[in-house]
Each structure stands twice: as structure tokens, then as C-alpha cells.
């Protein structure tokens, strides 16, 4: 079994809104797989279905070889999950959280203490273990939640926006922690994120999701390579006019207008900068600035979805979150 997660046209509709649309996702065993998309793209809905807390409208999935509909309990035993929103009890200690979780997941009593010590060491929370959660920092809470998700040795760890709302230093330490974990333990990580740097640095493979559909899955490297292009970002005074003129040039492979700037996808940008500036001058268009970049993941995202990731999914941004939608029932 090469793939630990396989979805089969999994779909979730809320009334007439399709949050996840016939997704076929394959996640390789022991990899870190990222689902990248803007808010409201359907990431949380997808992950909620995979961890059996949300029933799909149609289609199904297999996690660790178990069907999420027919063998929900077996799936639950095979997975660990860290929710997007904090799920800790302020008045309990870190150790008590781990004890509770171990008991709920049926970790045998005789190994429980060792496992808890192991997790505390892994998350470097030994010293805080017997303090109540109220006294923890944001990063500590996150580490505890990730550690808790691991205590029953799950085969798959689901992380829904693991570094949302954390400061840059804490984010980096969590990335490092997850990479070590993935190397050391026999665990596959499926994470959702809307941070491009997170997906780029952390993931072996990325699936780009937008409006409930997976648009493209590949390694970050291949995704960037596939663009086979440099990007020239140019700011001019008459954008509309320039855009329509420049799109006619044969070396321009693609064009996007973002926040008042025009991004041109070209094959090798170095020689083209003077050509473009001259071309603009010839047409009485004043160039404010011009910049040449090699592709980043952000450009890959724009290439496939036609917009930057911060813009949200379609005009339905946020509403796509299943819990918000449900409140209207």
C-alpha cells in the first residue's frame, strides 16, 4: 500500500454550496503532504471528512486502508489530529491532557507513563508539564496539541493550519519539529495551510486547492520548474492599455494583473527587460518600475488559480468554512 490516504471523488455540499467537489487526493506513506489554498477553499472541510467528523455528501476515502464511512472507528484509531482552533482545557495541566488523550485512544496502561514522558521530551514541555494550560504561550499550546495527537502512535497526523496566528520564530521551530518527527517516526503528515512559505519549506508534495477542487498536485520543486518561466513585474501608468498591447507580444506566455502591477510570464527574462521598456515608451506608456524574478510558489499559485492566495476563494471567501455555514440552518 503505497498511498496511506486515497480519496474517491469525495464531495461535501452545504445546501447549494459545494465546499469540496469530487476531490481525488493521494498521499504517499511517510510523506509530508500539504493542501494549499486560500481561506474558504475547502481545506478544513476536506480534512474533517478524512478524520470522520464530517460525513461526505458523496464519494468516500480510505485512510490507512480503512474506509472513512464503513470503518470510522478504525480510522480514528489510526489518526492524530490537531484542529485549527485550539482544543485545550485551560484549567488542566499539560500532563493531564496527555493522560486523557492516551486513555481515550486506548493506549495500554503499562506504557502510558513512558509515552507521556516521551512526548513531553519531544515537545520540550517537561518543565511545564504540571502547570495548567492558562500559563502556556501560544507556541507551547500548539506543541502540546501536536504532541497529544502523537501519543497513540498514529499512522497519519492531520494538521489544520498548524502555525496559524503564531510568531515567525515559533513557526520555524514547529516546522523543524515536524520535519524531525517525520524523519524519526513512522508517521505521515497531512497539513493544510494558506502560507506559501510553509508549504514550500515543509512539504514533500503540495496539492493546490481552490473553490473545493484540487487543481494540481506535485512537489514544490516540480511546480516551480513547470512554470519554466521568469516573472517580470511591471508597474505602468496606463495599465489597461499596456496589458492589452503587451499580451500580443509573442514572448509573453501569460499575464496577470495583481494589485496594480502586471506580471508577465516569460521564458528568459534577462534580455527582455530593455525590450519591454522600449516597447512601452514607443506606445507612450510610462514605466514606473520593472522587476525580474525567478518563480516562487506564490507565482505557481497565481498561475493555476489566477489570483494570489491572500485573496480568498472566489467571492465566497470565509463562507466556505463549514461551521459558519451550518450556523445558518
Amino acid at each position: 500500500m503505497e498511498y496511506i490516504i486515497e480519496t474517491d471523488n469525495i464531495t461535501k455540499k452545504f445546501d447549494d454550496f459545494t465546499a469540496v467537489n469530487s476531490v481525488n487526493l493521494k498521499v504517499k506513506r511517510d510523506s509530508i503532504h500539504g493542501v494549499l489554498g486560500p481561506n474558504g477553499a475547502g481545506k478544513t472541510t476536506l480534512i474533517s471528512m478524512l478524520c470522520t467528523i464530517l460525513r461526505p455528501t458523496s464519494g468516500t476515502a480510505r485512510v490507512n486502508g480503512y474506509d472513512i464511512l464503513k470503518n470510522a472507528n478504525e480510522v480514528r484509531k489510526s489518526i492524530g489530529i490537531v484542529f485549527q482552533a485550539r482544543a485545550l482545557d485551560d484549567i488542566l495541566t499539560g500532563r493531564e491532557h496527555l493522560e486523557m488523550h492516551a486513555a481515550l485512544y486506548g493506549v495500554p496502561k503499562d506504557v502510558r507513563k513512558d509515552r507521556i514522558d516521551e512526548i513531553l521530551e519531544l515537545t520540550q514541555l517537561q518543565e511545564k508539564a504540571d502547570d495548567i494550560i492558562k500559563t502556556y504561550s501560544g507556541g507551547m499550546k500548539r506543541r502540546l496539541e501536536i504532541g497529544r495527537g502523537l501519543i497513540h502512535y498514529p499512522k497519519v497526523l492531520f494538521l489544520d493550519e498548524p502555525t496559524l496566528g503564531l510568531d515567525p520564530q515559533t513557526r520555524e521551530s514547529i516546522w523543524e519539529y515536524l520535519q524531525n518527527l517525520n524523519k524519526k517516526e513512522d508517521v505521515t503528515v497531512l497539513l493544510t495551510t494558506h502560507y506559501l512559505d510553509e508549504a514550500d519549506k515543509l512539504c514533500d508534495k503540495i496539492s493546490i486547492i481552490d473553490n473545493g477542487e484540487i487543481i494540481k498536485s506535485d512537489t514544490p520543486r516540480n511546480l516551480k520548474k513547470e512554470l519554466k518561466a521568469d516573472i517580470i513585474t511591471i508597474k505602468v501608468d496606463k495599465e489597461e492599455k499596456f496589458a492589452s498591447l503587451v499580451s500580443g507580444l509573442d514572448f509573453v506566455r501569460d499575464l496577470h494583473m495583481i494589485n496594480g502591477a502586471i506580471k508577465l510570464m516569460v521564458e528568459s527574462g534577462e534580455n527582455l527587460v530593455p525590450t519591454i521598456v522600449n516597447f512601452a515608451n514607443e506606445n507612450n506608456i510610462f514605466v514606473n518600475s520593472i522587476e525580474l524574478e525567478h518563480p516562487k510558489l506564490e507565482d505557481v499559485f497565481i498561475q493555476y488559480t489566477g489570483k494570489p492566495i491572500t485573496q480568498g476563494s472566489g467571492n465566497k471567501s470565509k463562507k466556505g468554512r463549514f461551521n459558519m455555514l451550518k450556523r445558518r440552518h
Binding site: S48, C51, T52, I53, L54, R55, N73, R76, K77, I81, F83, A85, R86, A87, L88, D89, D90, I91, L92, E96, E99, M100, H101, A103, L104, Y105, G106, I132, N323, K326, R327, H329
Partner: protein, 254 residues
């Protein structure tokens, strides 16, 4: 086996929470004390209350224990809404354990804490000159647990359909207060006008309070075996109803 372990775990959490919120323990004793000492003395000296040695204050005593159990149980049940808002319910729901076990663990935990609060009041018997036998004391504790299970069940059932604590006042005014006033905690239920009598006999708390009165004072208005049967059936029905509601509404709760 793992289900029992799960029930135990959730029971334990409920108790740890209770013991750690010291302010909750203190406030849970203050209100009953006010009723007993201030209302009991004041009202007791205004009316002639024959039949029971110790007068109205002694009569009120089991009623106030019942009130403590009622308030504490219902609010513990409703507190599941907070668990839901803090995401903690989700964490329990995604565990490989049945919804019924979660409900049962919660109910047992909440009724244990309600029983502890009731027992603290029970100790006041010695100050109020109520002669309490060991058997009466233990019987009262058992009655409190059974009574509480049903009341936690009501709280849990409500919480399965409530989105936030905003409806709290509504519950307080339309569920908790009527149940308290109709329970015969404050007055004898033997010679009431018919309309009130019907309402009193429809309130499950009436049977719990009456049973507590028998355990502490040795007198009851309703035969003891009927009291016990009613609170047992009430507990069973409410626990099953809330377990059913949680299983059915699973998707809506997360």
C-alpha cells in the same frame, strides 16, 4: 473495556475541573447557606410549623440540598456548550469512543460533583440540630446521585440544541426556576390547591426532594419506593435521551 476507560477519563476531568475552580465550591455553598440561615430562620419564626422537630428550618434543609443538586447538575450539563466553543468537545468526539460513553462519562462526572456539593450542605445538619443517622447520610448521597443524573441529562439534552450560552437566562427562567419552586423544597405538598398539586407532581425534582426529606428527617409525603422508582426512571430516560441527541446531532455539534 476502552469504553469504560473513556467514561472514567471524562468523569475524572469533570472532577479535576470542579476541584480546581475553588471559587465555584465556595459559591455553591453560600447560596444554600443564605436560604437555610436567613430565609429558614426568618420565615420559620413567622409561621407555626408543627409536625417536625426543628420546625421550618429543618423542613427546608432537604429542600435546599435538592436545590443545590438541581442547580449544579443542570449547569454542568449545559457547560458542554462551553466545551464546544473551546473545541474540547471535538477533541473528545474524534476519539475512538462512542457518543453514549461521552454523555455517560459527563453525566457521572457532573453528578459526582453535584453530590459533593450536596454533601457539604448535608454536614450542616449538625449545626441545624438535625439528627442524621449514618444510614440516612449514605441514603441521601445515593439519592443525590440518582437525582442528579436525570438533571444533568436535561442540561446535556438542552446543550445538544443550543449554540451558545446566550440562551442561559431563558433556561434559568423557564426550566430551572420552575423546577425549583414546584419541587416542594420550600413548602409541604400535602394540602395544595389542585392546579398547583398537578404541577408539583409533574416535577421530577419533587420526588428527589421528598426522598431526601425521608432520608434526613424520616418523613415523606409520597411513599419512599415511589420516589425512588420515579427518580430512577427519570434518570434513565434523560440519560438515554441525551445520548440519543448527541449521537443524532453529532454533525451539528462540531
Amino acid at each position: 473495556m476502552s469504553e469504560i476507560e473513556g467514561i472514567y477519563t471524562i468523569w475524572r476531568r469533570e472532577n479535576i475541573r470542579f476541584l480546581r475552580y475553588k471559587s465555584r465550591i465556595v459559591t455553591s455553598v453560600v447560596t444554600p447557606l443564605l436560604w437555610l440561615v436567613v430565609f429558614g430562620t426568618g420565615f420559620g419564626s413567622a409561621v407555626k410549623f408543627g409536625g417536625i422537630p426543628g420546625g421550618y428550618q429543618a423542613f427546608l434543609f432537604p429542600g435546599i440540598i435538592g436545590m443545590t443538586v438541581l442547580f449544579s447538575s443542570l449547569f454542568s450539563g449545559i457547560s458542554v456548550i462551553q466545551d464546544r466553543q473551546y473545541g474540547f468537545l471535538k477533541e473528545m468526539f474524534v476519539a475512538p469512543i462512542s457518543r453514549s460513553s461521552i454523555v455517560f462519562g459527563k453525566a457521572l462526572g457532573a453528578s459526582t460533583t453535584a453530590m459533593i456539593q450536596g454533601t457539604i450542605i448535608l454536614f450542616l445538619a449538625f449545626i441545624l440540630n438535625i439528627h442524621l443517622t449514618v444510614i440516612g447520610f449514605i441514603a441521601a448521597m445515593i439519592i443525590m446521585i440518582i437525582m442528579s443524573l436525570g438533571l444533568v441529562g436535561i442540561g446535556l439534552f438542552i446543550s445538544a440544541f443550543m449554540e451558545s450560552m446566550e440562551g442561559f437566562n431563558l433556561i434559568m427562567n423557564f426550566v430551572v426556576m420552575p423546577m425549583f419552586f414546584l419541587s416542594g423544597a420550600l413548602f409541604p405538598i400535602t394540602s395544595l390547591p389542585e392546579w398547583l398539586e398537578v404541577a408539583v407532581y409533574l416535577d421530577p425534582v419533587t420526588y428527589g426532594v421528598d426522598a431526601l426529606r425521608y432520608a434526613t428527617l424520616g418523613t415523606s409525603a409520597i411513599p419512599m419506593h415511589i420516589n425512588i422508582v420515579v427518580i430512577l426512571i427519570f434518570a434513565a430516560v434523560m440519560i438515554f435521551a441525551s445520548a440519543y441527541a448527541f449521537t443524532e446531532r453529532e454533525q451539528g455539534l462540531m
